[in-house]
Symmetry: C2
């Protein structure tokens, strides 16, 4: 297991972590200022400054990407399907332009939340079928662009509105069916926030193996958690044994960035430099 | 599948649903007034009126119990273990006195939350071992009292502080190990709120079978959910396909009460009679 205590060369900042404190260009500059080598941008932050300016900000600040957030939201009504497909292809194109190693997929929940305007339903099994079909279709396009897709299983509390793939087992079942050869074109983004509770976590990480471990995200689970979406904790402030999980991932050969992704009203309320300094300190002490 | 549309003879009210509107005696009387035949009381509500008075309220109002809430909270520090064991034995005794068909087990999360005062830890695997040992020990006592124990897998968002058994699969693995014969002494309480998202739900319900399906709880998952604990929805107001899940449970031979358990600041703010009338209507239309 790599020793993170002496430096932060394997730290990446998911740009949502400081989305309220500046635009993507300012975030890229701040990361460079703090000696942070990796970022993972969100599409809306790229769109806000324009793709070209975003590409330039990444290059000018010598940043590598640990991923691109995000494609997905596959479940859709008949009138929303074309939009979903086109939107996901654009996400692939943007990821390629930015030099991302993978496109992270948040697969979507029930169609009325995944693609607003879609007819209401409670049929989560059907949503899961649409997810599988959607990934299959996008995978062809992404293979053509030589861009791996990383399915991110989300915590079950997001099953209805954000992602109906909620366990490593489910995500890997999809990988087995859609890319049985394990070519590396389809894999997982493992975020400790979403999967830490799973009694099968260690076994499923081993099952994924190096070819399917495409990204590793960290933050912490707070007790109490006061908001389902915007109360993620800084590493070390919660109950997740992050080093233990990182150990399992690295035993499989994963040697990429440890990406900090924190959606938090608390951390969004602090100055960007203070948040980044804290990320660096916790990357060294708690990851 | 039983037809619930014409009457509410299979409706049971978990007394937490109206805990703010009256004490256990008042709740029992209100249920009788509305022709509700079943209740599932909580221990603190029983303690507040005294066990004898609670037993009398159940008898005088001709109520059956669909369960007793709750035993568990097994993970504990060395100094808290004796208390945990004694407390759980008292819960068994109370359940027997009240005529409950089972004691529902909320197994506990990390020891510092399960039994306050216990040393802090992030070792959820160790907590799970303590849960298994705790159930094994209590099972002996409960067998002596002829009282089945019903493990309730809780939603993964409660893994840290309430229950580290979060899936049907995990709960059934425990049943297989602790009661391999499937004697009926150990089984599950299936609450749709906790398990609706699980892609293995149907398969695991079939695996449980009649002998291990000891209780069936309903409410609904709201989108958005504004509080992790106190924003459960009334049946029909959310996204859970409750009749589908009830169908699976009944295909296995379950023919007991459908127990409404709603923790909700919204419903706690309404008059008891209005809440019970709504439970009856939704039991008929949405369960």
């Amino acid at each position: 297991m790599r020793d993170f205590s002496g430096d932060h060369r394997w730290l990446s900042i998911n740009t949502a972590t400081v989305r309220k404190q500046g635009d993507l260009v300012q975030i890229a500059e701040a990361c460079a200022r703090h000696g942070i080598r990796g970022v993972s941008p969100w599409r809306d932050q790229v769109a806000a400054v324009g793709l070209e300016r975003a590409v330039r900000a990444v290059r000018e600040n010598d940043l590598a990407l640990s991923g691109y957030c995000r494609g997905g939201m596959f479940p859709a009504g008949p009138d929303q399907r074309g939009e979903a497909r086109d939107d996901n292809r654009r996400a692939v194109d943007e990821a390629v332009a930015l030099g991302a190693p993978c496109l992270v997929l948040v697969v979507g929940g029930l169609p009325q939340y995944s693609r607003p305007g879609s007819p209401e339903t409670k049929d989560i099994a059907q949503a899961r079928t649409q997810v599988e079909d959607g990934i299959a279709e996008l995978l062809e396009y992404a293979r053509g662009a030589n861009l791996p897709l990383a399915i991110e299983p989300l915590h079950p509390m997001y099953a209805a509105d954000r992602a109906c793939v909620n366990t490593m087992r489910h995500a890997l079942d999809l990988c087995d069916r859609l890319d049985p050869a394990g070519s590396g074109a389809l894999g997982l983004a493992v975020d400790v926030y979403h999967v830490w509770w799973d009694p099968e976590l260690e076994a499923q990480i081993r099952r994924a193996g190096r070819n399917r471990l495409l990204a590793f995200h960290v933050c912490d689970w707070l007790v109490p958690t006061t908001d389902l979406l915007l109360d993620r904790g800084m590493m070390g402030d919660g109950v997740i044994d992050i080093p233990r999980i990182r150990g399992w991932v690295e035993e499989c050969g994963f040697a990429g960035f440890s990406e900090v992704e924190i959606f938090s009203n608390r951390w969004w309320g602090l100055p960007m430099d203070e948040v980044l300094r804290t990320c660096i300190a916790r990357h060294r002490s708690a990851v």
